[in-house]
Amino acid sequence: MLKLFFHSQLSLGLARATAAALAALAVVLLARRRQIHLEAEALIAMARGFVQIVAVGSVLLFLLRGPHWTSIFLLAGMIVAAAATSARRAKGVPQAFQVSAYAIACGAGSLILLMTWLGVIDTGITSLVPVGSMIIANAMNTNGLALNRFRADVLAHVGEIETALALGAASETSVAGYVQASFEASLIPAIDNLRSLGIVWIPGLMAGMLLSGARPLYAAVYQFVVLSMILAASGLTSLVSTVLVRSRVFSAADQLVLQPGR
């Protein structure tokens, strides 16, 4: 319907964005009727997301004219921003940003490098940056979930952990169950995405490829490739993250420093 009223690509795009934002706002207003107040948070998140994605679009426009290596800086910047975002999910965990940065760089960064070297990801900026950003964003989510779950489990089981320590257990032994649970829980979205691929959802990348005229079979296979890379990067990120955070919640004398109210 919007096509009837908007004829240029830019005006049509803005109209579509407005319609989608209004749908989101309608949900926020519906929540308000049930005394759930998301107005400020949702408005800020939407405005921020819009500005950020338009800024990235503008940067991509600029980068497309530059040399390939500039994408490395863009991806590195994304890793830093992803680390800062997911570290907020680990309030009170010592060095959460450092843990997140190492984990995402190790998980997403190393996988992007490997896949680019193997030729799975094209070195062109238009391919490397969007695909790389998807991998980094998913690694960020996984890292946030892992840290958040670990933090919650530790805070809920201080007594059990300190009992194990008091019985002479090593710090890593005392939280081993919570490390494993965090790792498993953090990978649920990535695994479920792969499991339900094509049945429950057709991801944006594939939809975009189809819209731009790619052959459906190629688009489908490429989407599987991307989701497999996301699972690999997410798994590695969560593995590194949970191993690193495990040691951060203890002092050098094996004392649990992450405690309620401290």
Binding site: G159, T163, L165, A166, L167, G168
Partner: protein, 232 residues
């Protein structure tokens, strides 16, 4: 204080100006005392007086801000924490048993050092706390008193030199309290194990301990024979 080797004249446990400060509060304030081998010391005082904080410092679950603890004459900061905690076994207010059987719980501590305890020793440990034949019971099915006695046996399975008890009966009903106290009497007086027991129950302190410390606001108010301290 020099790190001298253990001798019979050296107190098994000694604190020197032990202090722990957290932002906005002094939990333990300049506490010095000593405990001879085989002695039973009660730490008493009102709620919030620093009793549990002091016990946690003895087990090095928390770090002193200043001062230190000397175990058999050795500054405990020079002892690997895992070994120190094995030697200074701690029983907490709530038993915090690990899921599984009673036997699995008792085997946990020795397993941390790569040791296994025999079925015979397991039976002996359970007999010490009055729970003969409980080896294969699932801990989920234990009463509060039974769980606390399993917790006690689990700590004893590590063969500690000193037993630290943090209000071991405060979460129990009267019947369970008597069961646990009876086990403690047997261990403290029958087997001569050095014990530090935190309790707000002065009658229990009088029944179990020979000496007592009275804390208030983290400070040591008095120390001496249990009845003198409690009567003061």
């Amino acid at each position: 204080m020099s790190n001298s080797p253990s001798t019979s004249a050296v107190p098994i446990l000694r604190t020197e100006h032990l202090t722990r400060v957290i932002p906005g509060k002094t939990l333990v304030d300049d506490v010095s005392f000593e405990l001879q081998r085989g002695g039973v010391l009660a730490i008493t005082g009102p709620s919030g007086s620093g009793k549990t904080s002091l016990l946690r410092l003895l087990n090095r679950l928390d770090e002193p801000t200043s001062g230190s603890v000397y175990f058999e004459g050795t500054d405990y900061r020079s002892i690997p924490p895992r070994e120190l905690r094995r030697q200074l076994g701690m029983v907490t207010q709530r038993p915090y048993l690990f899921s599984g059987t009673v036997a699995e719980n008792l085997r946990f501590g020795p397993a941390q050092r790569g040791e296994t305890i025999s079925c015979e020793l397991l039976a002996q440990l359970l007999a010490r706390v009055g729970l003969q034949g409980y080896e294969e019971r699932n801990v989920a099915n234990l009463s509060g008193g039974e769980a606390q006695r399993v917790s006690l046996a689990r700590t004893l399975a590590n063969s500690p030199s000193v037993l630290l008890l943090d209000e071991p009966t405060s979460a129990l009903d009267d019947a369970a309290k008597l069961e646990v106290e009876s086990s403690l009497q047997h261990i403290m007086h029958g087997q001569g194990l050095t014990c530090v027991i935190v309790t707000h129950d002065v009658a229990q302190a009088a029944r179990l301990a020979e000496r007592a410390l009275l804390l208030a606001n983290g400070r040591l108010m008095s120390e001496g024979p249990v009845q003198e301290v409690l009567d003061a």
